[in-house]
């Protein structure tokens, strides 16, 4: 177990999430991409904590990242519900087209 290995894995997870966030049309799938990106950040932060400076402050940062992920999900679901109600759609492209 090395820092580089953990960071490479987290970079791979982050990149897969980035692909999803850019390519997906359905709002919830975009959210999944964002979640995956944050998943990578969690792993990277945990690895940096363990291999570089294992004091409690780093863990608090991880808690903040996890909280950010929760907020993203809650607001994402709310926006998706609003979009579904207002425009009967859950696709990013259709939402953009209808706003013109």
């Amino acid at each position: 177990m090395t820092l580089e290995a953990a960071l490479l894995l987290s970079a791979a997870i982050f990149s897969v999430g980035l692909y999803g966030a850019i390519s997906q049309q359905v709002v919830v799938m975009v959210m999944m991409g964002l979640e995956l990106m944050i998943n990578g950040v969690i792993l990277a932060a945990a690895a940096c904590w363990w291999f570089l400076a294992p004091d409690p402050t780093g863990q608090v940062l991880l808690m903040v990242v996890i909280a950010a992920m929760t907020l993203e999900m809650a607001m994402g679901f709310a926006v998706a519900v609003l979009l579904h109600r207002a425009r009967q759609t859950d696709m990013t492209d259709m939402a953009t087209d209808l706003s013109r």
Binding site: M1, E4, A5, A6, L8, L9, A11, A12, I13, F14, S15, V16, G17, L18, Y19, G20, I22, S23, Q24, Q25, V26, V28, M29, M32, G33, E35, L36, N39, I42, L43, A46, W49, W50, F51, L52, A53, P54, D55, P56, T57, Q59, V60, M63, V64, I66, A67, T70, L71, M73, A74, M75, F77, A78, A80, V81, L82, H84, Q88, T89, M91
Partner: protein
């Protein structure tokens, strides 16, 4: 002891590979329900990796929270994705080539940085009880962090309800909130 270390290393890397592959599966599998569970697997794998990195509390929180969240997400998809094939094959992507190129470039850039940077040696040693140290930090010097997150979470609850609510008080009482009786689809009360 040496064998145990090697086994832990292998397990750590294997979990990482599982996390990456199941993360990729999210955007490849045929149904959104499967995509949700693939994402859950990815999160659980990362959660176990965090446990390997000696952060029991954070690891367990990640696993429990994400399993619940993905369960909610699966239900949500079945509820709202009626016009989409929530449980059937689907392919809904745009700018696929751009997305793939961006993702690959990002990975290469990050990997180059990871491999080129001369990482410093570990500073200090982990506390004897990591979870206890985290608790003491949250209740002590780092309390401001959580105190700041709390109102943000409350604001999220309020904003989430406001966004998701089908009818608000403005629909009932008008823009100036003075309209009486309220405009309800089904009048309530006891007729007095």
């Amino acid at each position: 002891m040496e064998v145990l270390t090697v086994l832990v290393d292998i397990a750590f890397v294997a979990l990482g590979v599982v996390a990456v592959l199941s993360g990729g599966a999210v955007f490849v599998v045929d149904s959104m329900a499967r995509a949700t569970y693939a994402l859950a697997v990815s999160f659980v794998a990362v959660g176990v990796q965090v446990l390997f990195l000696q952060q029991s509390y954070v690891g367990v929180v990640v696993i429990l929270m994400m399993v619940m969240e993905m369960a909610v997400m699966a239900v949500y998809m079945v509820m709202f994705m009626g016009m989409n094939p929530a449980l059937m094959p689907m392919s809904m992507v745009h700018s696929n080539r751009t997305a793939v190129a961006t993702a690959v470039l990002t990975f290469l850039l990050l990997a180059a940085g990871i491999l080129v940077v001369d990482w410093p040696a570990r500073r200090g040693s982990p506390p004897r009880d990591v979870t206890e140290a985290l608790g003491e930090a949250l209740m002590g010097p780092q309390m401001l962090v959580m105190a700041v997150i709390s109102p943000v979470m409350v604001a999220t609850i309020v904003a989430g309800v406001v966004l998701a609510a089908p009818r608000t008080r403005y629909d009932r009482f008008g823009d100036d909130l003075r309209q009486r009786p309220p405009d309800d689809p089904q009048p309530g009360g006891v007729g007095r």
